[in-house]
Subunit: 347 residues, 2 copies
């Protein structure tokens, strides 16, 4: 297995990417391929005093930044880490691409270079959301790949999310819920009512609607939604978490007494921060492409890179991509709903 990682993606690239790769490489047998300007990556590897033999470098001289229009950048920057990585996946020179770079560019390059799986209407961007139950996290999708959603997309998110969570967490039949404005059946707009109906008939463990308030308390493994609501959900939760944690940091350093209190309670406060720390949970996949792609948070550092690489292994070993293709072929639930050969996938 070859795990490709974008050496230039994210706020702390290339240094932290290389450090995370080195840390992971010492624990796994798989080969890690770092894409980036060869001299810069080599320099970081030397700084880590890397002596092993399961890290390779593939020279990629360009980087796509977050400020660029994804589609245009993907077309122009053929030697970028992301486009080159996608081409390697396509040509069988790599099994999964991990990147902390532009999500838009990853999605765009994924669509252009790899293409959609046959039967998949739209790929979805997933994210791990913190959950206060034993599972510790819930997979949320779509987080923004398709803002103009159709019920079929939401339905397929349920199938793809189930397969991914089963592969990564080893849960036999992950429970799936639909993000909606009320927990009762029959809630929501037409899009969500129809998605509910389709999910109910799917060969997955669908458990009905869930309200935005309840997701963080856990109780299900996958939450599916349209890309617009998913994005609003994810970002508003993140904003609230950042705001509250920020207030604690600020207020608990005001005055000697509060400061002393905060010092005594420090280890507990750190535990809480870790629970709600988004970057901790590692990479999340873009599902529905003809290849495995894992997106890390842009602020990923050594630890997050390390976790993402560890999550990439079962993603590939369990052939999530192949299983999604298979599931959609046999159980797409979309009979009679074909339109404009949208479900033919890409060539």
């Amino acid at each position: 297995m070859k795990i490709l990682i974008d050496g230039m993606g994210g706020d702390y690239a290339p240094q932290e990417i290389v450090k995370g790769a080195v840390k992971a490489a010492g624990e796994i047998d798989e080969t890690i391929v770092i894409l980036g300007p060869e001299d810069r990556i080599r320099e970081q590897l030397d700084a880590c005093r890397w002596k092993g033999n399961n890290i390779e470098i593939v020279n990629a001289t360009e980087v796509i930044s977050n400020d660029e229009t994804p589609a245009m950048a993907v077309r122009r920057k053929k030697d970028s880490t992301i486009v080159k990585g996608m081409n390697m996946i396509k040509n069988g020179e790599g099994d999964v691409l991990i990147s902390g770079g532009s999500t838009g560019a990853l999605l765009s390059a994924g669509l252009v270079v790899l293409g959609r799986l046959k039967g998949i209407r739209r790929p979805a961007i997933a994210a791990w959301f913190p959950a206060l139950d034993e599972g510790g996290s819930t997979l949320l999708l779509d987080c923004g790949a398709n803002v103009e959603a159709k019920p079929e997309y939401v339905y397929q998110n349920g199938i793809m999310g189930s397969i991914f969570v089963r592969a990564i967490k080893g849960i036999e039949s992950p429970s799936v819920k639909l993000l909606n404005i009320g927990a009762e059946d029959g809630k929501g707009d037409e899009l969500h009512k129809e998605a509910f109906r389709m999910l109910s008939e799917a060969d997955i463990n669908f458990n009905g609607n869930i309200e935005g308030r309840d997701v963080v308390f856990g109780g299900c493994d996958v939450v599916v939604t349209d890309g617009f609501s998913g994005n609003i959900f994810l970002k508003s939760s993140e904003g609230m978490s950042l705001a509250i944690m920020g207030q604690f940091k600020k207020k608990l350093t005001e005055g000697v007494i509060a400061k002393a209190g905060a010092m005594l309670a420090y280890s507990k406060i750190k535990e809480i921060r870790n629970v709600f720390d988004y970057s901790d949970v590692g990479g999340a996949p873009i599902l529905g492409l003809k290849g495995a792609v894992l997106k890390m948070h842009g602020n990923s550092q050594e630890t997050e890179v390390y976790y993402a690489i560890h999550k990439a292994v079962p993603y590939v070993k369990n052939d999530v991509t192949g299983m999604i293709a298979e599931a959609v072929r046999h159980n797409d639930g979309l009979a009679g709903k074909k339109e404009n050969s949208e479900d033919e996938g890409d060539k």
Copy 2:
């Protein structure tokens, strides 16, 4: 001015409702009318040793619960606090109705009894959202009245929200933003792109898109959205806030050292809790009806009732309802968009 309050709405009715009314009545000249079973309300007033002359009781023998289907309950329970209150507003026997009861029933009764203002496509449910800037709160609408939204509704939310915030907070030209999946112009689905265009042309202080992550940090007075996204936004933020605060409460009582630390930092922790406490901000209006309606959180107690009554005064004094009617008449921006005489309001 007569302020009507639903004596039976919410988890702590009638006791806390009456206590809040008594507290407010001592400070204002306006008459407060409490609706509910006369004997039960009288009993609570006696328990408060109320001796003033600006609280009245209007006997209403029925209550609509949260478990009932709003439209059906409104039709059947003519002597419920909510339906009776709406009828009093309609007949000029009251100027504003405050309730901590079922939001659905309030909206439904508002539509059936009062009707929409002429030119208003759909009334919207607003909510105050905590903000970490000087303003301290942002008005968010729609929070779920219209899950099947159109751009015109979102646009009118901007007009209604502006007028309400100007009346309540005294801000001359409240800044309005559109909740979207990105801050840049041109983001979002067709609904939000069109709403953006309409808001840009409106006679309000429209400042573009805002992401879910940024609302809590403040910087604008009104955030407009469709009812589905607004509901997801509000509930997911609330869930995250409850989850984090709950974790602090739990973790900081684990072990002697953390407990001691928490005690020292107690006043600061309480300050933080107050910032993010949803119930603190008081009632939020249902806008676009032919009358003033203020919804309190279902868990409202004395303090929240007291605040809601205080917020009701400028709501009526500044004639928010009349100003919305006026604004829509002169500047509805909907010319050429009339459909099925939807903008004719209700009779």
